[in-house]
Protein backbone atom coordinates (compact mmCIF):
# COMPACT_ATOMS: atom_id res chain seq x y z
CA UNK A 1 0.00 0.00 0.00
CA UNK A 2 2.87 2.34 0.90
CA UNK A 3 4.50 1.51 -2.43
CA UNK A 4 1.29 2.26 -4.30
CA UNK A 5 0.88 5.60 -2.45
CA UNK A 6 4.46 6.55 -3.32
CA UNK A 7 3.87 5.66 -6.98
CA UNK A 8 0.65 7.67 -6.99
CA UNK A 9 2.17 10.70 -5.26
CA UNK A 10 5.51 10.97 -7.04
CA UNK A 11 6.32 11.19 -10.75
CA UNK A 12 9.41 10.47 -12.81
CA UNK A 13 10.41 12.59 -15.84
CA UNK A 14 8.73 11.41 -19.06
CA UNK A 15 11.98 11.96 -20.93
CA UNK A 16 14.82 11.31 -18.43
CA UNK A 17 18.11 13.14 -18.93
CA UNK A 18 20.11 10.05 -17.92
CA UNK A 19 19.04 6.57 -19.00
CA UNK A 20 20.16 3.58 -16.94
CA UNK A 21 19.61 1.16 -19.81
CA UNK A 22 22.92 -0.09 -21.19
CA UNK A 23 21.19 -1.50 -24.27
CA UNK A 24 19.85 1.97 -25.13
CA UNK A 25 23.24 3.48 -24.45
CA UNK A 26 24.95 0.99 -26.77
CA UNK A 27 22.46 0.83 -29.63
CA UNK A 28 20.46 4.05 -29.37
CA UNK A 29 17.27 1.94 -29.45
CA UNK A 30 15.06 1.06 -26.46
CA UNK A 31 15.31 -2.44 -24.96
CA UNK A 32 12.15 -4.57 -24.50
CA UNK A 33 11.85 -3.37 -20.89
CA UNK A 34 12.59 0.34 -21.44
CA UNK A 35 9.82 2.57 -20.14
CA UNK A 36 8.49 0.13 -17.53
CA UNK A 37 9.43 2.37 -14.57
CA UNK A 38 7.71 5.39 -16.12
CA UNK A 39 4.75 3.18 -17.06
CA UNK A 40 4.47 1.95 -13.45
CA UNK A 41 4.16 5.53 -12.17
CA UNK A 42 1.63 6.33 -14.91
CA UNK A 43 -0.44 3.21 -14.20
CA UNK A 44 -0.61 4.01 -10.47
CA UNK A 45 -2.24 7.33 -11.43
CA UNK A 46 -4.66 5.58 -13.79
CA UNK A 47 -2.99 6.97 -16.93
CA UNK A 48 -3.21 3.83 -19.05
CA UNK A 49 -2.61 5.55 -22.38
CA UNK A 50 0.59 7.13 -21.08
CA UNK A 51 1.73 3.79 -19.66
CA UNK A 52 1.18 2.05 -23.01
CA UNK A 53 2.98 4.93 -24.73
CA UNK A 54 6.07 4.37 -22.53
CA UNK A 55 6.00 0.60 -23.04
CA UNK A 56 3.23 -1.08 -25.03
CA UNK A 57 3.46 -4.29 -22.97
CA UNK A 58 3.56 -2.56 -19.56
CA UNK A 59 0.11 -3.88 -18.46
CA UNK A 60 1.28 -7.43 -19.28
CA UNK A 61 4.56 -6.75 -17.47
CA UNK A 62 2.76 -5.70 -14.29
CA UNK A 63 0.42 -8.68 -14.49
CA UNK A 64 3.56 -10.86 -14.62
CA UNK A 65 5.08 -8.98 -11.69
CA UNK A 66 2.04 -9.31 -9.47
CA UNK A 67 1.62 -12.98 -10.50
CA UNK A 68 4.92 -13.63 -8.71
CA UNK A 69 3.04 -13.43 -5.42
CA UNK A 70 0.68 -16.26 -6.38
CA UNK A 71 1.68 -19.89 -6.89
CA UNK A 72 0.00 -21.96 -9.57
CA UNK A 73 -0.11 -23.09 -13.17
CA UNK A 74 -1.54 -19.75 -14.31
CA UNK A 75 1.69 -18.02 -13.23
CA UNK A 76 3.91 -20.36 -15.28
CA UNK A 77 1.64 -19.93 -18.29
CA UNK A 78 1.60 -16.13 -17.92
CA UNK A 79 5.39 -15.95 -17.55
CA UNK A 80 6.16 -18.22 -20.51
CA UNK A 81 3.78 -16.27 -22.76
CA UNK A 82 4.93 -12.94 -21.32
CA UNK A 83 8.64 -13.58 -21.88
CA UNK A 84 7.88 -14.60 -25.47
CA UNK A 85 5.77 -11.49 -26.00
CA UNK A 86 8.51 -9.22 -24.63
CA UNK A 87 11.10 -10.93 -26.85
CA UNK A 88 8.98 -10.28 -29.97
CA UNK A 89 8.29 -6.72 -28.79
CA UNK A 90 12.02 -6.19 -28.27
CA UNK A 91 12.78 -7.23 -31.86
CA UNK A 92 10.00 -4.94 -33.15
CA UNK A 93 11.32 -2.03 -31.09
CA UNK A 94 14.75 -2.45 -32.67
CA UNK A 95 13.57 -3.01 -36.24
CA UNK A 96 10.58 -0.70 -36.61
CA UNK A 97 10.75 3.13 -36.75
CA UNK A 98 10.53 4.91 -33.38
CA UNK A 99 7.02 6.30 -33.96
CA UNK A 100 5.60 2.78 -34.34
CA UNK A 101 7.16 1.33 -31.16
Amino acid sequence: MALFTALWYFSVPADPAVRLCAFHWLTGRPCPLCGLTRALFALAKGHWAAAVHFNALSPLGFAMLFALFWEGRMRAWLWKGGVGAFAVYGVLRICLPAYLT
Binding site: C21, A22, F23, C31, L33
Partner: protein, 233 residues
Amino acid sequence: MFCHQCGTQVSADAQFCTTCGASFVPGTPGLLGAPETPWTPPAVIQVQAGRWIGEGWALVTADLGTYVLLALVFCVLSAAVPVILQGPLIAGFHIFTMKKLMGRRAELADLFVGFNYFVPTLVASIVIGLFVFCGTLLCVIPGLVVAAMYKFTYLFIVDKRMDFWPAMQASHAVAKRDYVGFTLFLLLMVLVDLLGVLCCFVGIFVAIPVTFAAITVAYKEIVGFEQRTVDAL
Protein backbone atom coordinates in the same frame (compact mmCIF):
# COMPACT_ATOMS: atom_id res chain seq x y z
CA MET B 1 49.71 -39.22 8.44
CA PHE B 2 50.28 -37.97 4.89
CA CYS B 3 47.94 -38.10 1.89
CA HIS B 4 49.07 -40.79 -0.57
CA GLN B 5 47.94 -38.60 -3.48
CA CYS B 6 49.20 -35.05 -2.77
CA GLY B 7 51.42 -35.49 0.29
CA THR B 8 49.47 -33.10 2.56
CA GLN B 9 49.72 -33.85 6.29
CA VAL B 10 46.30 -34.76 7.70
CA SER B 11 45.05 -35.94 11.07
CA ALA B 12 45.32 -39.67 11.79
CA ASP B 13 41.54 -40.21 11.90
CA ALA B 14 40.76 -38.23 8.70
CA GLN B 15 38.58 -39.98 6.12
CA PHE B 16 39.36 -37.58 3.28
CA CYS B 17 42.27 -35.33 2.34
CA THR B 18 41.21 -31.72 2.92
CA THR B 19 43.46 -30.54 0.09
CA CYS B 20 42.88 -32.95 -2.81
CA GLY B 21 39.82 -34.87 -1.60
CA ALA B 22 41.38 -38.35 -1.83
CA SER B 23 39.69 -41.00 0.31
CA PHE B 24 41.57 -42.86 3.09
CA VAL B 25 38.73 -45.36 3.56
CA PRO B 26 39.11 -48.40 1.27
CA GLY B 27 36.19 -48.76 -1.14
CA THR B 28 34.98 -45.18 -0.60
CA PRO B 29 35.16 -42.64 -3.43
CA GLY B 30 37.25 -39.54 -2.76
CA LEU B 31 35.79 -36.09 -2.23
CA LEU B 32 36.30 -35.06 -5.84
CA GLY B 33 35.59 -38.43 -7.41
CA ALA B 34 32.37 -38.79 -5.42
CA PRO B 35 29.21 -38.93 -7.50
CA GLU B 36 26.87 -35.98 -7.60
CA THR B 37 24.13 -36.07 -4.97
CA PRO B 38 20.60 -35.96 -6.40
CA TRP B 39 18.62 -33.15 -4.85
CA THR B 40 15.07 -31.84 -5.00
CA PRO B 41 14.14 -28.41 -3.64
CA PRO B 42 11.73 -28.13 -0.69
CA ALA B 43 8.14 -27.21 -1.56
CA VAL B 44 8.09 -24.04 0.55
CA ILE B 45 11.02 -21.70 1.10
CA GLN B 46 10.75 -18.72 3.40
CA VAL B 47 13.25 -15.98 2.61
CA GLN B 48 14.55 -14.38 5.81
CA ALA B 49 17.05 -11.97 4.33
CA GLY B 50 17.47 -9.81 7.43
CA ARG B 51 18.10 -12.74 9.75
CA TRP B 52 20.52 -14.42 7.33
CA ILE B 53 22.56 -11.23 7.03
CA GLY B 54 22.38 -10.82 10.83
CA GLU B 55 23.77 -14.32 11.32
CA GLY B 56 26.43 -13.64 8.68
CA TRP B 57 27.40 -10.50 10.62
CA ALA B 58 27.59 -12.48 13.88
CA LEU B 59 29.84 -15.11 12.23
CA VAL B 60 32.17 -12.48 10.77
CA THR B 61 32.47 -10.37 13.93
CA ALA B 62 33.24 -13.52 15.97
CA ASP B 63 36.43 -14.01 13.90
CA LEU B 64 36.91 -10.57 12.38
CA GLY B 65 40.68 -10.72 11.85
CA THR B 66 40.65 -13.90 9.75
CA TYR B 67 37.62 -12.78 7.75
CA VAL B 68 39.17 -9.38 6.93
CA LEU B 69 42.40 -11.11 5.87
CA LEU B 70 40.37 -13.53 3.77
CA ALA B 71 38.54 -10.64 2.05
CA LEU B 72 41.82 -8.82 1.47
CA VAL B 73 43.44 -11.85 -0.19
CA PHE B 74 40.21 -12.46 -2.15
CA CYS B 75 40.14 -8.87 -3.48
CA VAL B 76 43.85 -8.75 -4.32
CA LEU B 77 43.81 -12.11 -6.17
CA SER B 78 40.52 -11.33 -7.95
CA ALA B 79 41.95 -7.99 -9.11
CA ALA B 80 45.32 -9.50 -10.10
CA VAL B 81 43.80 -12.32 -12.17
CA PRO B 82 40.27 -11.22 -13.04
CA VAL B 83 37.64 -13.81 -14.02
CA ILE B 84 39.93 -16.88 -13.76
CA LEU B 85 40.33 -16.92 -9.96
CA GLN B 86 37.00 -15.48 -8.91
CA GLY B 87 34.93 -18.70 -8.99
CA PRO B 88 37.36 -20.90 -7.03
CA LEU B 89 37.95 -18.11 -4.50
CA ILE B 90 34.20 -17.66 -3.91
CA ALA B 91 33.94 -21.44 -3.38
CA GLY B 92 36.85 -21.19 -0.92
CA PHE B 93 35.09 -18.38 0.97
CA HIS B 94 32.01 -20.58 1.28
CA ILE B 95 34.09 -23.57 2.45
CA PHE B 96 35.62 -21.39 5.19
CA THR B 97 32.15 -20.35 6.43
CA MET B 98 30.81 -23.92 6.07
CA LYS B 99 33.55 -25.08 8.45
CA LYS B 100 32.66 -22.27 10.86
CA LEU B 101 28.99 -23.29 10.79
CA MET B 102 29.96 -26.91 11.44
CA GLY B 103 32.06 -25.85 14.40
CA ARG B 104 35.29 -26.99 12.72
CA ARG B 105 38.58 -25.16 12.82
CA ALA B 106 38.61 -22.82 9.78
CA GLU B 107 41.80 -21.20 8.57
CA LEU B 108 43.01 -18.85 5.85
CA ALA B 109 44.21 -21.78 3.72
CA ASP B 110 40.58 -22.87 3.28
CA LEU B 111 40.20 -20.03 0.78
CA PHE B 112 42.35 -22.08 -1.58
CA VAL B 113 40.46 -25.37 -1.06
CA GLY B 114 38.02 -23.93 -3.61
CA PHE B 115 40.70 -24.66 -6.25
CA ASN B 116 39.83 -28.36 -5.86
CA TYR B 117 36.68 -27.41 -7.79
CA PHE B 118 38.54 -25.20 -10.26
CA VAL B 119 36.85 -26.17 -13.53
CA PRO B 120 33.16 -26.15 -12.43
CA THR B 121 33.56 -22.95 -10.37
CA LEU B 122 35.46 -21.19 -13.18
CA VAL B 123 32.89 -22.14 -15.82
CA ALA B 124 30.05 -21.24 -13.44
CA SER B 125 31.52 -17.79 -12.76
CA ILE B 126 31.93 -17.13 -16.51
CA VAL B 127 28.42 -18.35 -17.43
CA ILE B 128 26.75 -16.52 -14.51
CA GLY B 129 28.71 -13.35 -15.35
CA LEU B 130 27.52 -13.59 -18.96
CA PHE B 131 23.89 -14.13 -17.93
CA VAL B 132 24.01 -11.25 -15.44
CA PHE B 133 25.62 -9.00 -18.06
CA CYS B 134 22.86 -9.79 -20.59
CA GLY B 135 20.19 -9.21 -17.92
CA THR B 136 21.76 -5.92 -16.84
CA LEU B 137 21.75 -4.69 -20.43
CA LEU B 138 17.95 -4.81 -20.31
CA CYS B 139 17.30 -1.96 -17.85
CA VAL B 140 19.34 -3.37 -14.91
CA ILE B 141 16.60 -5.19 -12.94
CA PRO B 142 16.68 -8.50 -14.91
CA GLY B 143 20.42 -8.63 -14.15
CA LEU B 144 19.69 -8.39 -10.42
CA VAL B 145 17.13 -11.20 -10.65
CA VAL B 146 19.57 -13.42 -12.55
CA ALA B 147 22.35 -12.70 -10.02
CA ALA B 148 19.97 -13.60 -7.17
CA MET B 149 18.99 -16.81 -8.97
CA TYR B 150 22.52 -18.18 -9.07
CA LYS B 151 23.79 -17.14 -5.62
CA PHE B 152 23.89 -20.74 -4.34
CA THR B 153 25.67 -22.24 -7.38
CA TYR B 154 29.13 -22.45 -5.77
CA LEU B 155 27.70 -24.06 -2.63
CA PHE B 156 25.97 -26.74 -4.70
CA ILE B 157 29.27 -27.40 -6.51
CA VAL B 158 31.18 -27.76 -3.24
CA ASP B 159 28.54 -29.49 -1.14
CA LYS B 160 26.73 -31.71 -3.64
CA ARG B 161 29.69 -32.26 -6.02
CA MET B 162 27.60 -30.96 -8.90
CA ASP B 163 28.96 -29.78 -12.21
CA PHE B 164 28.44 -26.11 -13.06
CA TRP B 165 25.17 -26.48 -15.00
CA PRO B 166 23.29 -28.80 -12.57
CA ALA B 167 24.51 -26.54 -9.74
CA MET B 168 23.15 -23.45 -11.53
CA GLN B 169 19.86 -25.26 -12.14
CA ALA B 170 19.66 -26.31 -8.47
CA SER B 171 20.32 -22.72 -7.36
CA HIS B 172 17.63 -21.54 -9.77
CA ALA B 173 15.23 -24.17 -8.38
CA VAL B 174 15.70 -22.64 -4.91
CA ALA B 175 15.25 -19.02 -6.05
CA LYS B 176 12.23 -20.00 -8.18
CA ARG B 177 10.22 -20.53 -5.00
CA ASP B 178 10.39 -16.80 -4.24
CA TYR B 179 11.98 -14.64 -6.95
CA VAL B 180 10.99 -11.40 -5.22
CA GLY B 181 12.30 -12.51 -1.83
CA PHE B 182 15.68 -13.69 -3.17
CA THR B 183 16.09 -10.54 -5.28
CA LEU B 184 15.41 -8.44 -2.17
CA PHE B 185 17.98 -10.60 -0.33
CA LEU B 186 20.51 -9.73 -3.05
CA LEU B 187 19.59 -6.03 -2.90
CA LEU B 188 20.08 -6.07 0.87
CA MET B 189 23.54 -7.59 0.36
CA VAL B 190 24.34 -4.89 -2.22
CA LEU B 191 23.28 -2.35 0.42
CA VAL B 192 25.64 -3.98 2.96
CA ASP B 193 28.50 -3.73 0.43
CA LEU B 194 27.62 -0.09 -0.27
CA LEU B 195 27.69 0.66 3.46
CA GLY B 196 31.10 -1.01 3.55
CA VAL B 197 32.36 1.26 0.76
CA LEU B 198 30.94 4.30 2.57
CA CYS B 199 32.94 3.37 5.69
CA CYS B 200 36.13 4.84 4.20
CA PHE B 201 36.18 1.97 1.67
CA VAL B 202 37.95 -0.36 4.15
CA GLY B 203 34.50 -1.40 5.38
CA ILE B 204 34.21 -3.47 2.21
CA PHE B 205 36.60 -6.01 3.76
CA VAL B 206 33.96 -6.65 6.43
CA ALA B 207 30.96 -6.30 4.11
CA ILE B 208 32.17 -8.90 1.59
CA PRO B 209 32.59 -11.68 4.21
CA VAL B 210 29.18 -10.76 5.71
CA THR B 211 27.46 -11.27 2.35
CA PHE B 212 29.25 -14.58 1.64
CA ALA B 213 28.49 -15.78 5.17
CA ALA B 214 24.82 -14.79 4.77
CA ILE B 215 24.56 -16.86 1.57
CA THR B 216 26.15 -19.87 3.30
CA VAL B 217 23.78 -19.50 6.27
CA ALA B 218 20.81 -19.33 3.88
CA TYR B 219 22.04 -22.42 2.02
CA LYS B 220 22.44 -24.36 5.28
CA GLU B 221 18.87 -23.51 6.26
CA ILE B 222 17.24 -24.15 2.90
CA VAL B 223 19.27 -27.05 1.54
CA GLY B 224 21.38 -28.33 4.46
CA PHE B 225 24.93 -29.65 4.21
CA GLU B 226 25.55 -33.12 2.80
CA GLN B 227 26.73 -35.62 5.45
CA ARG B 228 29.80 -36.60 3.44
CA THR B 229 30.75 -32.90 3.12
CA VAL B 230 30.46 -32.59 6.90
CA ASP B 231 32.67 -35.69 7.28
CA ALA B 232 35.17 -34.45 4.72
CA LEU B 233 35.53 -30.97 6.18
